[in-house]
Amino acid sequence: MQRIGVFVCHCGTNIAATVDVKKVVEMTAKEPGVVHAEDYQYMCSEAGQAKIINAIHEKNLTGIVVCSCSPRMHEATFRKAAQKAGLNPYMVEIANIREHCSWIHKDMEEATLKAVILARAAIAKVNLDAPLQPGESLVTKRALVIGGGIAGIQSALDIAEAGYEVDIVEKLPSIGGRMSQLDKTFPTLDCSACILTPKMVEAAAHEKINIYTYSEVEKVSGFVGDFTVDIRKKARSVDMSKCTGCGVCSEKCPSKKNPNEFNRGLNNRSAIYIPFAQAIPNVPVIDREHCTKFKTGKCGVCSKVCAAGAIDYEQKDEIITQKYGAIVVATGFDVIPLDKYDEYAYSQSKDVITSLELERIMNAAGPTKGHLERLSDGKAPKNIVFVQCVGSRCSDERGKSYCSKICCMYTAKHAMLIRDKYPDTNVTVFYIDVRTPGKNFDEFYRRAVEDYGVNYVKGQVGKVIPQPDGTLMVQASDLLENKQILMEADMVVLAAAIEPNKDVRKIATMLTASIDTNNFLTEAHAKLRPVESPTAGIFLSGVCQGPKDIPETVAQAGAAAVKAIGLLAKDKLTTNPCTAHSDELLCNGCSQCANVCPYGAISYEEKQVNDHGIRETRRIAVVNNALCQGCGACTVTCPSGAMDLQGFSNRQILAEVDAICR
């Protein structure tokens, strides 16, 4: 029988206002095994912990129950306290009487009763607790960054600067990401390429950074400190070691009518191409889907014109397997598809474009060489309408429930740039709210209105109707004037919502990192651990975690890097001792547990056993404690109950059930 101490926390009034803590002490003191019970203002405080330590010493406690906040908050705190007093830290159980009780109930009597029951369950569990010893695992001193945008580049640079090897895996032929597609950046209006390119070059040149472009993460196994990752390096069909980046191949390529992804499909590129001038690596790739050689077997022009002999049609996808200690996810975003927004005529008219398309149009390397013109007829637009919140803050399935955060600012930027470069153009922005919380952001927006004469109208566009003469009729509301507006426009720019990259779900599944309903990766704690995934060893960088502008992305990338560095700086990690264990006298050796183990932690041995006098050799399941993460899938698959989970044993969970139902 354990000697159990119960410690009930008031948490100021957080608990004590709704739960009669004295009553909880009184009731739990009567439970079998409980030899000590007390309450205190803040159990997590130094003084509170001292009370626990004293009681362990004085009453010779073998197990303790702390009735307090969620174990996700302070389980570690109390375990450490117990350890200080010489008690095995796994002899501590938490009854969550704050988040699961005082904070959600109003009636004191009811909440107190529930707190007592939760405490009883914890006491029942502690009664069956056994001291556990954590193991150790080694840390591989190398980081993987998934995504080569500004977030990934920044994280990689920071980690590399700290002296650790970093690999960047980028799906596209070049690093650079979304930022490389932008023309100017708010609120300073400096040129995006001008500030990004040096970073790209720095990353490429860094001796600790290794970049895999045109590559994807294929498989991830292992755990914090010891991930094993398969990276698929897709066949570029160009030998990177030979190519000089002269560009003759692209020029001579006869297949030229392929949508140019970098320019959002607004113009075409050849089948062998370098996505953009500053691309890193500056090596082309053959788009096998559109290449005549790959489609028909005939052509081979690029190979003929390549002086370096770098073209290799036979090149195959290559799988690279590498071990990492930490993984930074920086998979970024895309704009949502607008095919469901018929009212804005996006698919009907070439002159209804997204803001990202406008970025390309405004860019000197874009489809119009930087001239603002209508894609339908090449004419300069006289009236431009910007529509905000297209698909953002939307509660139906067409859009996203969240605010995309960056649209207000980039729209102000676009409006300002247009008014600056083409003063004859009328610019009208329809907005619901203008959100500018950021350093110099509101000033920037006010400049657009005050200095550049951009016409901001509070109201939303209801419909865009393409006219026979090629103009667009915009029907909108002006809520301040309480009027409906009908106006002609030559171009309509939609601030489409942004969403996490399509591949993020697949990647999150591989990483066992959790993801929210909008496909943003979940952070370990919304406020206190914003750059870590709940899955140990996985860090979040950039928009994959939530909408962000460039400075925020860079800041978060740095933060994620620091967290990764903190991990890589350790030589060893202690492993969770709550792992599965097989009872060799009960095990049938049937292999069902190995079938469901996600970590391949279970193997089988022919073992000599002595089963109450019967000596025989049996096939027995053996769990590798370094690999086992303690999910418990095997324990339920095991029909004989041979497989059990330390810290969450069958008998413990049953005891909790019993305590709750009694």
Partner: protein, 353 residues
């Protein structure tokens, strides 16, 4: 000798059930077992053998012995009340009655099992002759008369009333004081019968002549007695004999004489119920102790059961076997093993070492 027409049996049952519990063969979901009768239940006196014997009327499959009530750290023990209401077991066959005689030897010997004794004291047994014995029956081997539950010396005084079903009438004969009392209580439904004795005698003859024809009737028990321990225990016959045994408890649980039980605790959340329940010596956890089990192989467990029935029990009980030849194990063993095959196996091998 009294009689009652078959169609009036329902009224008889109702009458008995007015003042006490009535336990008789009840058909439920296609199977007939002894159970508490009420108007909704379907009494079935035609099935020769209930699946389980009637022993659970006196020795239920499980019964609470006492309850420990928990109040905080305080524990109070509340003993379970002994049976104090009268009840009637109707329709036990001669073999079942003999089974009760065997159980009496165990439970009424010192120290007396008070739970059992209370039930025996308050229970009245109405025993019924077997109209059409079957091929699995071999009660005669143990001196039991399927035609007359009072004919066997061992069973004297156990059956309180004997009844015979002849041509749609039930003939009723009180055998003991308890039987007389019951007869008195239901007298309004019984009619004295003048030719009853003659009819019953004819029925007995008919039954006995059938018993003579049954395949197992002439089974020899030669060599099986209380003195045979060494010879039988050490025999190599067991080594092959037990092989098909599944180690289930069917034979034990349908047996009228198996009396082993286990004592277990059940945690109700607010206390503990200590109860006993039938156990089977065929189970691997039978008499499990901290160090393990004293019989580690199925052969040993299998041997134990039959040695107990045919050797150890007679050794301790004046030669009385603890098998009554009801044949339930013959019918129900999933592996077609049974005590008859065991006896025959030794016969064939001449009990060699």
């Amino acid at each position: 000798m009294y009689k009652i027409e078959k169609e009036n049996l329902e009224a008889l049952f109702r009458k008995i059930a007015e003042s006490q519990d009535l336990i008789l063969p009840i058909k439920k979901a296609g199977q007939t077992n002894f159970g508490l009768w009420n108007e909704e239940e379907e009494a079935d006196l035609d099935t020769l053998k209930t699946v389980k014997s009637g022993k659970d009327a006196f020795f239920p499959q499980s019964e609470t012995l006492y309850t420990v009530v928990r109040d905080g750290k305080k524990l109070t023990v509340e003993p379970e009340a002994l049976r104090n209401r009268p009840f009637v077991v109707f329709g036990m066959k001669a073999c079942d009655v003999k089974g009760v005689a065997v159980l009496d030897k165990v439970f009424l010997a010192d120290p007396v099992d008070t739970f059992y004794a209370a039930r025996r004291e308050h229970g009245t047994i109405v025993a019924m002759a077997c109209h059409e014995p079957e091929e699995s029956c071999f009660c005669k081997v143990f001196g039991t008369d399927a035609a007359d539950p009072a004919a066997d010396a061992d069973t004297k005084g156990i059956a309180d009333v004997a009844v015979w079903m002849v041509e749609g009438s039930l003939y009723w004969k009180a055998l003991t004081g308890k039987g007389e009392t019951l007869t008195e209580a239901v007298k309004e439904l019984l009619t004295p019968s003048d030719d009853g004795q003659a009819k019953v005698d004819a029925e007995k003859e008919a039954i006995r002549s059938i018993v003579e024809k049954l395949p197992y009737t002439h089974l020899s028990l030669e060599g099986w007695d209380g003195n045979a321990t060494d010879e039988k225990f050490g025999s190599s016959v067991w080594e092959t004999l037990y092989k098909p045994c599944l180690a289930c408890g069917t034979c034990t649980f349908v047996c009228p004489t198996c009396q082993c039980y286990d004592i277990k605790d059940y945690d109700t959340g607010h206390g503990v119920k200590r109860y006993r329940c039938w156990d089977s010596c065929m189970y691997s956890d039978f008499t499990m102790m901290a160090h393990g089990n004293n019989r580690t192989s199925q052969m040993q467990r299998f041997r134990q059961r039959f040695m107990h029935k045919l050797v150890y029990f007679p050794a301790n009980n004046g030669g009385m076997y603890s098998c009554v030849g009801c044949g339930r194990c013959v019918e129900k063993c999933p592996s077609s093993l049974n005590i008859v095959k065991v006896i025959k196996a030794f016969e064939k091998h001449g009990g060699e070492k």
